[in-house]
Symmetry: C2
Subunit: 354 residues, 2 copies
Amino acid sequence: MKRRAADTPGLISFAGGLPAPGEFPRAKLAASFVRALQNPSCPALQYGWPEGDEDLRAWIAGQLRRRGAQVARDDVIVTSGAQQAVSLAAQLLLRGPRARTGVDRESYPGALDLFRELGATVVDDGSHVDAYYLMPAVSNPRGRKLSRSDRARVLSTLRPIIEDDAYADLSFDGAAPRPLLAEAPDRVFHVGTFSKTLCPGLRIGWLVPPRSLRAEILQLKQSDDLQAASLPQAVLEDYLRTENFDQRLVRLREFYGRRADRMERALRRHLPGWRFDPPTGGFAIWVEPDAEPNEAFLLAAAIEHGVAFDPGSLFRAHGAVSPFALRLCFSSVACDEDLDEGVRRLARCWAEVA
Amino acid sequence: MKRRAADTPGLISFAGGLPAPGEFPRAKLAASFVRALQNPSCPALQYGWPEGDEDLRAWIAGQLRRRGAQVARDDVIVTSGAQQAVSLAAQLLLRGPRARTGVDRESYPGALDLFRELGATVVDDGSHVDAYYLMPAVSNPRGRKLSRSDRARVLSTLRPIIEDDAYADLSFDGAAPRPLLAEAPDRVFHVGTFSKTLCPGLRIGWLVPPRSLRAEILQLKQSDDLQAASLPQAVLEDYLRTENFDQRLVRLREFYGRRADRMERALRRHLPGWRFDPPTGGFAIWVEPDAEPNEAFLLAAAIEHGVAFDPGSLFRAHGAVSPFALRLCFSSVACDEDLDEGVRRLARCWAEVA
């Protein structure tokens, strides 16, 4: 269905969780690439160490220290995107046939698929688990911050936590909050990425595992794919050294915050019966409409109407289609007007189907 | 020890299996990058499909068809280097606690580590196995082609085979041979990479699994790291479209063949007691000296003398240090003269230690 949508001309896609391509700093990345190739030993094109580029790791550690976590350069492992970081942590935490992971009522499908692939049981009911997978700063798909009480409750269980911070820098109201890593570095596996704030095509993320497990994680990483690609690491290292990334983040927060507002207004106008909590960050709005149509049928009808979305079942531990819900990404449409037009198309489709 | 060697100034390294950095086509890759960023939808920086870039897969399939294998574009999965391709195949083939992999008497350490990591038993004695891992065109570390009789024997067992073709295009005497994939596409997992023929920094490899298992492999790939990085794929796709890769391969075969010759001559002159079979391709010579010194001690002494090598135990299924052997890579030294000087240093060290 995803591929069918991608092949439909003129479609407005609220699916996929993609960043806005217009915000990719193309010219600056090209300049960084050219500079990176001028290094005489040319590390950009050669094999590198499994833990990743030293300067890049120092930069990542510095960002985490600013947020209150005691992280040194050598605590950081550069990964092939955040997905691999979650995968490495999960491979270590979810061994054995009866492993259980605790997740939010809705969570990131790529992680849910991974946990199932590893044979783990995924639960969202607060029962005993071997590890949690959470997005405390900005959740996906809801785009909300973990509440104080839930934060305290999860920490009090003393279980290991995979903290997926993919959207943390994209809280609309300001800088990323204090990570769980700062509270419990001995059992938090902290995951981050440049995919949302810079561009996904680099596939550069990171993992900060507990120090005592670093060597084991690094061995897993090496067996998986030796190392994250040197070329994107070299480009990124140069880019971060020469550009003001904080300024970029301020601009991105405004950009996505404005898009969220506009989509909320369009939803209230054209689909007043649909319930949602306004997101406080991220790329999407989680919507719970006022009827229970067949999910696959609605998606097919929506594509006919020239608009796509992510069906709610994707985000649920057991793939439940009820209560009916959907994720609407405002992040990657070509222009702001597409937000209004896409919602109008959704409303027309809804009037026909539901 | 590897890191200590990397930090020793003036060291001549015969370790690591790295390609010659002087052969990286820097300017052409930079031009490809700049062109790739001019594509209005900018796939180089955005998320892509898990199976990889369509045109790149078509190119890879075309190369394999020229070698006699019936491969279509959609049979190919682009991976984060050959290591991930081996890892995906192994994850699927070596499930269960008693899985056994058959390998050559000496094999690629990254694969051996991976199989152990997965809990498999690695055997080199011809006993029953669940799958083979082989490098039939050009083996690592010996740089030799699988003999006709061994090829026939392995095929006759009807077991699945991971065919690692990393060095296949670097046979000194000409084009890559017919792959095992051409004989048994229903049970060969064919692995390739651009790391040896172009540059490792892209981390772009591929896997051609049996058709019936493609969907399952793709699911594993997606859980591992979503997709290979878009940026290197876009650069590569442009590069392959605009350059004559066959011509590059001809030049590289001459380049590495000449280096192999020169190192063989230096070994015969300075270490006449060391036995080796001249490699017919690849980056290295596998040497069996005429004494049995302590491996770690010899390596430390060699680094003191300003030369490094890969100890033989790394390449053995059970890490055996005896019979004493070592791998000497002629591929990545700064210039041809370093081959002579490095071997002279080795000879001086050997005279002291052995």
